[in-house]
Symmetry: C2
Subunit: 190 residues, 2 copies
DNA sequence: TCATGATACTCAAGAATCTGACTATTCATA
DNA sequence: TATGAATAGTCAGATTCTTGAGTATCATGA
């Protein structure tokens, strides 16, 4: 029961449909929570059944109709309880690190390629986050916004995503460089 | 089928029992993979049944007997295939970030406390990683070790863990400071 | 005009994960 | 000398997550 709270937190700022929510989990919220669309639809249904979110049908002419969900007072109370409860340590699962861990005993070629790919991805994400931050603080300088802005939560988590991606980017570049040098040395050594 | 590869990677350097493996997943490997002991015991059983690891009973006098596992050639071949296959994007799930996301609408007191706790945890982990790095490079300076060392995989993932925890630490401290200032302002504003 | 791709969802089945309890022995410590 | 922590696991059941396939409409571009 933890996806529930991630969904509630994601719905705090705007009413979203399941489809939009899925997109936001693939971009913004994905910094700190991962879920597939199917899970989100299912979770929204459960949340609605429990009265933590309220859905309303929006009829569209040019596209299929959709249901928009917003957090209810009960939902907010649930988030309040969650925030006060003890947090589980953050959980990370990273395929690429598993490959790096075994990199002395397997062919490093594909691992280096994947590190470079991941670095590109991180660069794209960083750019996206930087734009999002500018948008969220709406003209104000950061310090002023963080002191006086009404809604800073998403900004703060976006800062977290930025820190994470910048760290990951540096790591990828450094490790790719090291593995490349080492595989070069090995060639010459033969 | 992804925990398998994390387990194989963790067993590359030493023969471990399920119990020891569980410990290492709680400390070192936990940088990039999370799993509970029960899962590890089950996965070891499956890996052994598939011939990817080999277990041997070690009789102990002063403690309960244990079974040590090592990676077989087949296991290594499986890791090789895994390293060459495309990686899934790293998956993060972070309770604390969910709480920060909703921090404008819930009581920030407990969130700030949790950020400080997490910061302490990160500091402890950083110290641990730094010691581990010194141990892994065994007297040599980093550059030399990374160029000429025979087994650098665990060192590289440890570097990753360090980058991650340092980033997380900075984020926690900064966010805790911001939320504290804001809650102070609010008090005075009443 | 025909094929994508985007919007907006749904369903079922199976794999993976988590919760919680249990067994048994030894070591340290209060 | 009891008490709790550490070693070394096992088991069942519930929940969660992932895989894979479908439905239907509209817009865009080749």
């Amino acid at each position: 029961m933890a996806l529930r709270h991630a969904v509630l937190a994601a719905l705090l700022d705007e009413e979203l449909s399941g489809y939009q929510l899925a997109k936001s989990f693939d971009l913004g919220v994905a910094n700190f929570w991962h879920a597939l669309p199917q899970q989100l639809y299912a979770e929204l249904a459960r949340l609605e059944a429990d009265g933590l979110v309220a859905g309303r049908e929006v009829v569209q002419e040019t596209r299929p109709n959709k249901r928009l969900f917003k957090v209810t007072d009960e939902g907010l109370a649930e988030l309040e309880r969650f925030a006060a409860s003890s947090a589980k340590p953050s959980m990370l699962r990273d395929d690429l690190a598993v490959k790096v861990q075994s990199s002395d005993l397997v062919d490093t070629g594909p691992v280096i390629a994947q590190l470079r790919e991941r670095a590109d991805f991180a660069r794209a994400k960083i750019e996206l986050f930087e734009k999002l931050l500018v948008k969220l603080r709406g003209g104000r300088v950061e310090e002023e916004f963080l002191r006086e802005g009404e809604r800073v939560g998403p900004y703060l988590t976006c800062l977290g995503g930025l820190v994470f991606e910048r760290g990951y980017l540096q790591w990828c570049e450094r490790i790719a460089g090291i593995l490349e040098t080492r595989s070069g040395e090995k060639e010459r050594g033969r």
